[in-house]
């Protein structure tokens, strides 16, 4: 298993950055059990893949989109992943919407929420914690979401 925190620190030191990135560290983890059984639950997805690359990366913030407007391919060029070994040409490999829809159609899951959510991979923990996460939580409440699967690239 790759220790990504150590690997990333070494990589950016080699690029001449003298201050290591401070990864989010939380000693307490929130936890709650689903309020509804899967057969009647409403589910959504949260992704770090980019819907609107025309928005410059430094000012990209969390944003919610209707599932009916999901792009055939997200933009992943400015997200960090293993671009030597693999590719992101198969949306299902990071955003399993077809798989979810099949489960909904089969009656295993109650429903798909109207919106999915983009959260940027941000240098600033403050932006993630104080702006992006609360916005997505608010939108999930508005959509009466029971379950959210977060899938960072």
């Amino acid at each position: 298993m790759i220790r990504y925190i150590e690997r990333t620190k070494a990589y950016y030191r080699a690029q001449g950055f003298d201050q290591d990135y401070q990864w989010a560290t939380n000693t307490q983890t929130p936890f709650s059990k689903p309020a509804r059984p899967l057969k009647s639950a409403r589910i959504t997805l949260v992704t770090t893949a980019v819907v609107e690359p025309s928005i410059p990366k430094p000012i990209r913030a969390a944003k919610s989109y209707r599932f009916s407007d999901v792009p055939a391919h997200f933009d992943t060029t400015e997200v960090s992943w293993d671009k030597i070994t693999t590719h992101t040409n198969d949306r299902e490999s990071y955003f399993p919407l077809h798989a979810l829809n099949k489960r909904v159609a089969a009656g295993d899951i109650g429903s798909l929420a109207p919106r999915f959510h983009f959260i940027p991979t941000e240098y600033s923990q403050r932006h993630t914690r104080d702006q992006d996460a609360p916005l997505i939580a608010q939108h999930c409440l508005e959509d009466a979401v029971d379950l959210a699967i977060l899938i960072p690239l």
Partner: protein, 107 residues
């Protein structure tokens, strides 16, 4: 959460983790491998209901390939790319400076 960088997810404090030890980019499964992707989604749906405590990790047995070379190649620092990495860093710093000058930052 479905992810492939387990140390980052655990340090951040994640309630439930389905862990695929694959190259970053395809946390749900290898591209076009529908069986693997379905299995990952299935594991996530099960974990949502079966987890009794925060921080639970379910590692799936999926492998990228018989070769493990990808692990060494990711963010590799070698005698051959040291200068290239330094110039990447220089370009990165110049871009950040330009962004600041153009007001491209979040409040």
């Amino acid at each position: 959460m479905i992810g492939s960088a387990l140390d980052i997810l655990q340090q951040a404090g994640t309630p439930r983790i389905v862990f695929n030890d694959l190259p970053l980019g395809n946390p749900v499964g290898k591209p076009f491998d529908r069986a693997m992707q379905n299995q990952t989604l299935e594991a996530a749906l099960e974990l949502l209901y079966q987890a009794q405590n925060p921080g639970v990790v379910q590692q799936l047995p999926n492998q990228w390939s018989a070769s493990e070379d990808w692990r060494d190649n990711f963010m590799a620092i070698t005698a051959f790319n040291r200068e290239q990495l330094l110039s990447l860093g220089d370009e990165n710093r110049r871009q950040r400076q330009r962004n600041r000058e153009q007001g491209l930052f979040r409040p």
